[in-house]
Amino acid sequence: MKTIEVKELTKYYKTNKALDCLNFTIEPGKIYGLLGRNGAGKTTLLNLMTGRIFPTEGEIRIDGENVHENDKVLGSIFYMTEKNLYPVEERVKNIFKWSRRFYPKFDMEYARDLADKFGLDTNKKVKNLSTGYTSIFKAVTALASNADIMLFDEPVLGLDANHRDMLYKELLANYAQNPRTIIISTHLIEEVARVLEEVIIIKEGKLIVKSPVEELLACSYTATGEASKIDKYIEGRKYTGIEQTGNLKSVIVLEDIKERNTGLAKELGIDFSKTELQKLFISLTN
């Protein structure tokens, strides 16, 4: 089990600040969602975690060891990137074979089983795979690697709904069998929400939320009702994410779900519901 510590991490691309003094710890054996809008710094953070790029300031430590050029630490991480880094002229089955050499715990039988399940032809060259199947091939390699830490950057890119559902299920099955640290960076928040235990939300290079999903969602609720009644209910309350269709208004109230005023809501004809992670994300990052 590996603990990832991100300390004072800052990354500049020339004059553009991609990450701004991030500080947080990723506990082992959990599935994290790394969320943020386009350009928020998610991929930069994952690239830094695997030493593919270098921080301007700060460091990342795994079990107390700096990741920079550290083969022992790097060998415990598998990073499925959005972009393809595999030789395009190589066949999928050969890449499995080579991956087994670099990841000694790589499970070839499991890789073949997953390939069969997803309909991935392992005799095909990487260049001949569609966008969806390239994602499947990389995800299969990642899952079969059995690395202690798995990082996924947009793992469902180009996948149809069935394959996305299959992948989430396989990810959970893999995790259930062998709990490890998994970080998933994706824009499909609602889909992945059921898989996540914690979320890390980055906005313009800064960490704005790091919290268990349940706790985060318990800190807010959605109130829906007639616009004027909703306005009355939210008076003096913190809220965000107002949506209005005709006279029907809904708002995310930023207070503990236990503190909601059910009496007033009943009086005003307001319905309460659980906040959806995606809606909360949108309101937090807007």
Partner: protein, 234 residues
């Protein structure tokens, strides 16, 4: 097997098809020449297959970095391990090609009038000298290719132009200074190369071998500087 040797194995695996095709072509050319020599009424001479190998191994050196580096990054191999693994692969490739060329040279010279590069330069050749000299030269050529590809990989748009223009500018500058000094610079450089390659005095390919290895080692060390902090690029 350590990570470095795994990298070496992968790099050699990525070379093998091209090497195979290269030697098939060389064999066909050699067989064609032998056939021609058998049929010809006049003596047919043939030589310098090593030049083709130098071109081939330089290109292999240029080609060894980008794809291999990306694949090793995909497998979370450190840059240091990739560097050592790649260097060993290039040295092994140079050793193999020197051996193949020496063997081919031995076969060809027993059938037709063939002269290897070593024979042409030093006026004599034995197999040990030919092998060692070729090995040194091929290692240097491979490292040169690798170094050029590293410079291009790390350079941005302006630096790429600088890398491209610098040898041309140096050549023009050399010619200018040489003219100004009445050919003194050219004679000095040629004299230095001649001594370093063991072409002056006692004519020793072994001195040439040592000088080529030193030059290759310098280039190999220089390759480490740009690779140390090389980012993964598309």
């Amino acid at each position: 097997m350590g990570t470095t040797l795994k990298v070496t194995k992968y790099q050699l695996y990525s070379f093998y098809k091209a090497v195979l095709v290269f030697y098939i072509i060389i064999l066909m050319v050699s067989l064609g020449t032998i056939a021609l020599a058998v049929k010809a009424t006049e003596e047919v001479s043939f030589g310098g297959l090593g030049t083709a190998t130098i071109i081939f191994i330089s290109i292999a050196g240029m080609d060894c970095f980008k794809t291999g580096f990306k694949f090793m990054m995909a497998n979370n191999v450190s840059r240091r391990r990739f560097y050592y693994g790649n260097l060993i692969a290039l040295v092994v490739l140079a050793a193999f090609m020197a051996l193949a060329d020496t063997a081919l040279s031995a076969i060809l010279s027993s059938v037709i009038r063939y002269q290897s590069l070593t024979g042409q330069l030093y006026g004599f050749s034995n197999y040990t000298a030919e092998y060692l000299w070729s090995f040194g030269l091929y290692t240097l050529a491979a490292c040169m290719g690798w170094f050029i590809s590293m410079l291009y990989y790390r350079a941005d748009g302006v630096m790429k132009m600088v890398v491209f223009i610098t040898p041309l500018a140096a050549g023009i500058m050399f010619a200018f200074i040489d003219r100004q000094t009445g050919g003194q610079l050219g004679r000095t450089v040629i004299g230095f190369i001649g001594r370093a390659m063991g072409l002056t005095g006692g004519r020793s390919p072994f001195i040439g071998f040592l000088s080529l290895l030193i030059a290759a080692a310098v280039l190999a060390v220089l390759c480490y500087i740009p690779i140390r902090r090389a980012p993964v690029k598309e």
